[in-house]
Subunit: 334 residues, 2 copies
């Protein structure tokens, strides 16, 4: 059962392929096709259920109405929720999204870029990792719109949408201090991206501004791809060896590991021990006691990304790179 081609329609309607193409693409008026022919062809298309072959179309026009989304890990709820929002919004504007995860693997990220490139996606939304600067630069040099989100690569000049990581961190620490906390630990990761270092910097600065000396031994850097049990062990060790009355977790999965660690050593969150997680999570609302978190405004981030992309897509000329820093919300619970 071969699917229909434009030629089949043309034959059935007894007109040329060109005419059918004009009608399909809404250029009938402009090309002065008679009302009668338009009607006839439309009817035949309708009845036969003909759908243009997008591949042929892409080959000819060089674009695809598809936007490629490259993220770290679709099974992380921050990304899957952003993906869903972006998908929705793009869809309403006639674009489809295809997405894939890099797993923080440089080679996989590069391959994905190539995959999308060879599929001629119209634009790229990327949560980047170090090591792909050149590849992204090539995309930009070829005139492709590229938007970074969540993380930025300082060496690549392109638009970026992200939360105000520095201030989010700063505010969290300030709130600990306002509660009278003195020994504030930071659990972070060793992936070297701006977003993570900003969170670290906010922590430092808040301590400094409050006259507290920064103590490197209170900062735990978790290796990115390690087993969760290892992470839990390290957190337990930190709490065992240091006097700590507050912890800021720099990602929600670290906070979850942290909660598991607390459970294992039966340390309670309460007046003398507080934690805040970066990025909210369903589990936090449900936890007893409920866990405070920094919420990134997903909806706004998604909206900003799509707006930037569409601007770039509709204006032929290159637009200057824009940086959108979106404020976060600190939700203090219990």
């Amino acid at each position: 059962m071969k699917s229909l081609s434009i030629k089949d329609i043309a034959v059935k309607a007894n007109v040329s392929i060109t005419t059918v193409s004009f009608i399909i693409n809404g250029k009938a008026k402009e090309k002065s096709i008679s009302e009668a022919v338009i009607e006839k062809v439309k009817k035949i298309i309708e009845e036969s259920g003909y759908k243009p072959n997008q591949i042929a179309r892409s080959l000819r026009t060089g674009n695809s109405n598809i936007i490629g989304l490259i993220i770290e890990d679709i099974s992380n709820s921050f990304f899957s929720r952003i993906a869903r929002l972006i998908e929705d919004k793009a869809y309403k504007r006639g674009y489809k999204i295809i997405y894939s995860s890099t797993e923080n693997n440089i080679d996989k990220a590069k391959e994905l870029i190539n995959l999308f490139k060879s599929r001629k996606v119209d634009a790229y939304i990327i949560s980047p990792i170090k090591g792909i600067e050149e590849d992204v630069q090539m995309l930009l040099d070829d005139g492709n719109p590229v938007i970074f989100f969540d993380r930025n690569l300082p060496d690549v000049k392109t638009s970026y949408v992200g939360a105000d990581h520095f201030n989010a961190s700063y505010q969290s620490i300030q709130s600990f201090i306002d509660q009278g906390k003195k020994n504030i630990a930071l659990v972070t990761t060793d992936i070297n991206v701006a977003q993570i270092t900003e969170r670290h910097d906010g922590y430092k600065k808040a301590l400094e501004d409050n006259g507290i000396v920064y103590d490197d031994s209170l900062v735990l850097k978790i290796h990115f791809n390690q087993e969760e049990n290892e992470t839990i062990a390290q957190i337990k060790s930190l709490l065992a060896h240091k006097k700590v009355d507050a912890v800021l977790f720099v990602t929600n999965y670290l906070a979850i590991s942290g909660l598991k660690a607390l459970k294992q050593i039966d340390k309670k969150i309460g007046d003398d021990f507080a934690i805040i997680a970066y990025d909210d999570h369903e589990a936090f609302e449900l936890h007893t006691p409920r866990i405070s978190a920094i919420q990134q405004p997903l909806e706004e981030i998604a909206e900003a990304i799509i707006k930037l992309i569409l601007n770039r897509l509709s204006s032929k000329g290159k637009l200057p790179a824009e940086e959108l820093i979106i404020p976060t919300r600190l939700v203090l619970r219990d």
Copy 2:
């Protein structure tokens, strides 16, 4: 900066396009191209960074090495984790996955099928909803491999991979009864798919087999797309008006709403009140007390799906539809 085409390579190497194509596709030996030419062309390809245009390739060959994955909602962790696993496994076998969510919307599902069809994906993995039977049947009639997972459509004969929903439910209820529970409620949804009705049936059968009369007023059917607050209110109302000592939640998001409801009315889970959730969730392990759950073996499901797909893809003829029912695991906590 136009990207290179096979023609550019041919010109540079001073051979024909055909020769280059043979070499790219590993048919050089078979077509008896001399070692010298192979070397030369490969070197030029290497140096120039030439990548074949996949769109042109797809247009010509009619396939894409892409598998389309259609799910209900990527932001649901069951789906995002399955997606991630499928992606991984497919990737290792040289296939890419593109995915998109239907949001349980029939029109969107149909559009997605069309999108994938017009992009000539090689196979479809679908978590189906009622109302798309015809569209799927057309795919099958055209000879496309289609695998359903998680849910099945009884009217469409194609392969299916899913958990043993009936027994999972049955065992959960049995375990309640073994604990001495008598008034067991079921919180389910009104989406009319086999997977949900099987869970319902397992509940009924287990009660019957234990001589407990099925009471329809203990079964709460939540409307699919409703606001969470509404859901919480309904659950509270059920608990207020009925004597209930155990609840089986038919999906994890319903269980989460349920936990919120319990929190609001300050009802504790303990010896006289138990719950089980269908599909595990990070929040359950962390909750105090920890929440029992039915785990679907995601890894196995993903593996089974990929195996079925690859079989179909490699064997030209149509294979008979297979149904793989994978046992679940009841994890009793605390």
